[in-house]
Symmetry: C2
Subunit: 369 residues, 2 copies
């Protein structure tokens, strides 16, 4: 057994770069999050943009997820076709042009809920279902609780809800993504509080106005465990299914239970102390975090820094005089952020007990619109 | 006609985010580079990792390219199957494990040349073709002329060439990629000089030793036009086929002839002055350059800065009080670096004269190993 997921015999049949998941670790992560949410009485609707996989989605649902969150109509189409029948597009969708017809077809084949944060978004949905309002998906209003991206501030929720109802749309509730929880460890804790505060304010403005909108949905892996209070009825974490370097750091955990690693071959000595691997930006992506050096962790090489990634090269440095892996050796990398990595490859190599036991397609890869 | 590539009628049928190419601009770029190299008597072997498209590769060959450069066996397989019969894998390939058999099959169906920068790389090729050395691809030795990534310094070229010949491999010559030419405008000029100096030193060490190795191959879009001197027999630019924001800045050109843009929809007002588009890191990628603000240029909005990209969101800021595009409007983005953008999508929307005239697959998308 190496420091990665495969034994020597399995490594001999591995082509690199490869995205490898340890399915026992994936299952353990799915079970743990499901158990946590069940214990708190909070519904779990995992974000599937992380894994984009029907096989993994089915495992999440089997473990008790009420449905999935997705980012795009394209992802929703893949999961609906694969039999997941309750989908939330957690994005301020503007359903115009070809998206209007796609949305109508989609709503016919699953229970669909859609995020909105503008009157334009509401009007587009209403127009798309003009003449058959009963078939229109319910909407959920996005609240900006401090992430400063999309969503309206809590005091803007009621006006949007009234606009939606005036168009004949059903308002299911409010949702947020506290993206600022990725900023650091204190930011993570603060963001979890912001979620509860902002969502509660938005939801209460609806309830006070007599609008029955029970859904109060928070969503991000850094805050999911922290913010699951009485105020929240649903959580939508995504990255938890694999974990990654950024999540481990935020949660002050080791990488021991990270379920996805990139296997890569050392192809060159590189320019100085260090080495070059065949995993570049086209498999590791280029996400960085202010609190982490480089583009990932090289497993078993704690002093290594992936200083540079070009399309097909990862340039790794080591302290002067260190030993280094041989050219031709396979090394394993825990990427900073796992979501864009999965979106770069067509399949998972599925490992269990050091063996390759399967290959799963990344079913919704590239379905980003 | 908008500031992008499509007229209003065509925009109505466009789904976003979309990678759109203007085929007249692509053809003009292909013709211009071919004419420049022809006039200088330098062979042109474009790097196909940029476009990953058979349709575009055929246009490059029809315009006079001697063959293609690729980064991986996977790309070479796609182009060989598509009828391109002269391929150079410009990467220090380590042909072990499943790659050995793939390389053998590939060498049977095209004229193949392979980059090496280590004895391990040489041994792997020799082992893969053990018993049928005549079928082995010729090798080209990678020279580090200052890019500080892969390759050996010029004084290490001869030893590698002797090692290759001792294994029965044919040495075709030397190649380099002066990646440091992306560092800025003075760096671009210096890198073009470095190419000539370093390649000449490496090649001459072979010639003095009586090794007939005529190929002297330089390659990068920033330096291709500058470094095409008598000393260089081949150029391998890739990005020139579309251009991008980074290339335009380095060459002190406007974006007027950039042939690829990302069409994206404004989905939200965003948190302050600005707007949010549906092109995030999963279509724009995350390449940045020290001399350019943000993740791309918003065409027609010169004061806009794409400050942040998350997976599915591009957060754009404008000076306080500026007008901004309406939610639902389509805006066009010139990405910083076009290669990773193409690798994120399955097809090009092909435009001519403001109309959508075709859709071409990104044939080698994801073939990064």
């Amino acid at each position: 057994m190496t420091d990665g997921f495969l034994d020597e015999a399995a490594l001999a049949e591995l082509d690199t770069p490869a995205v490898v998941i340890d399915i026992d670790r994936v299952d353990a992560r799915i079970a743990a999050m499901a158990a946590t949410m069940r214990a708190r009485g909070v519904a779990l609707r995992p974000h599937a943009k992380t894994h984009k996989s029907l096989e993994i989605a089915r495992r999440q649902v089997a473990a008790g997820a009420v449905g999935l969150t997705v980012a795009t109509i394209g992802e929703a189409e893949v999961f609906a076709d694969g039999g997941i029948d309750d989908l939330f597009i957690g994005y301020p969708l503007i359903a115009i042009g070809p998206k209007a017809e796609r949305l109508r077809r989609l709503a016919d084949r699953c229970t669909l809920t859609i995020g909105i944060d503008s009157v334009t978004g509401i009007d587009a949905i209403a127009d798309a279902f003009h003449g058959r309002r009963g078939a229109a998906p319910a909407v959920v209003i996005e609240v900006d609780v401090g992430g400063a991206r999309t969503g309206v501030r809590p005091d803007g929720v009621l006006a949007l809800a009234r606009a939606a109802e005036a168009c004949g749309l059903s308002v299911r509730g409010v949702f947020t993504h506290a993206g600022h929880g990725y900023g650091g460890r204190p930011e993570r804790v603060a963001a979890a509080l912001d979620e509860v505060t902002g969502l509660t304010a938005g939801a209460e403005s609806l309830w006070r106005a007599g609008i029955e909108a029970p859904l109060v949905s928070a969503g991000s892996t850094p805050t999911a465990v922290l913010s699951a209070r009485d105020a929240v009825t649903e959580e939508r974490p995504g990255t938890y299914v694999f974990g990654d370097r950024q999540q481990a750091w935020l949660a002050e955990q080791a990488l021991d239970d990270t379920a996805l690693l990139v296997a890569t071959t050392v192809v060159s000595r590189g320019p100085a102390d260090g080495f070059v691997v065949d995993a570049g930006a086209k498999v590791l992506a280029k996400d960085v975090a202010p609190y982490l050096a480089g583009y990932g962790t090289v497993v078993g090489w704690p002093d290594a820094v992936i200083e540079r990634v070009n399309d097909h090269h990862g340039v790794v440095t080591l302290p002067a005089g260190s030993s280094r892996p041989a050219i031709g050796a396979i090394v394993w990398i825990a990427p900073n952020h796992v979501c864009p990595v999965v979106n770069l490859v067509d399949e998972y190599v599925v490992a269990r007990g050091g063996r390759i036991v399967d290959r799963w397609p990344v079913d919704a890869r590239g379905r980003n619109g």
